[in-house]
Symmetry: C2
Subunit: 150 residues, 2 copies
């Protein structure tokens, strides 16, 4: 496992696959992915509160929140570059770099589900929103179970 990480870091250093090249340093990449996922989770939670009847359903707010969620669901992935698993603050599991195809599949699924959520919110139909919320929440959980430390 350590060898894979070292190799990945070497590749990153050589610029062979420098997925975090957009970030000044690996710490920024980790802060970026955590920040974007946190902001997304807050907006997603507001939709959840409506879906679960904790706050009154407001179609306009649901749509605004779903737009933000769908936009933010696209951005964290570029920040899981090689070498960023070494940053102490991360809860990212090594599985992300060991099974990149599986991780990409999970990231793609979230983007698909959040796009469905956006479309559902646009209909103004609460039942459609509930269904899409539930599917999206499932994809969050599945990815966390596989790729995020508790």
């Amino acid at each position: 496992m350590k060898h894979i990480r070292m190799l990945a870091l070497l590749f990153a250093t050589l610029g062979v696959t420098a997925a975090h090249a957009q970030f000044a340093k690996p710490e920024d990449a980790v802060k970026y992915r955590k920040s974007s996922l946190f902001v997304m989770s807050q907006h997603f939670g507001r939709i959840g509160a409506m879906a679960q009847g904790k706050v009154a359903f407001n179609a306009t707010l649901a749509q605004e929140n779903a737009d933000t969620v769908a936009m933010l669901a696209k951005v964290p992935w570029a920040a899981f570059g090689e070498g960023t698993d070494m940053v102490p603050e991360t809860k990212a599991k090594a599985a992300i770099w060991e099974q990149p195809a599986k991780f990409k599949e999970a990231a793609d699924k979230l983007q698909k589900e959040t796009e469905n959520l956006r479309v559902a919110a646009k209909t103004g139909n609460l039942d459609a929103l509930k269904k899409a919320f539930s599917a999206t929440a499932g994809s969050c959980k599945a990815c966390h179970d596989q790729f995020k430390d508790k």
Copy 2:
């Protein structure tokens, strides 16, 4: 000053002006505004690198980044609710709550400038992008100078 803060907190507790009502706790509001501003700054920095000739100009990437910046420029303000000045992690100055009209003006200005940036990026013209980048950067700095501790 402390009285104003206590009063604001009291109002917030009473639900009179609970701008952070969307957040479970004031700490979440602070984390949210810092996170959204950090993600925004990263995307803004990528436009800056092009504007300053540090990386090659790519009109598509500039547009994507400007879209993200403009979207994120809208969201942090709701997280500057009363009571959130008490959270130790914040660098927000008391001036935010003492001069709310001035703070709102600065927040509105950023949203206007980032909207201009989005429009400029859409033209695909580097000179237009440079001009809008510079104006936006000015509004970041002016707001930080007034409302953010070093």
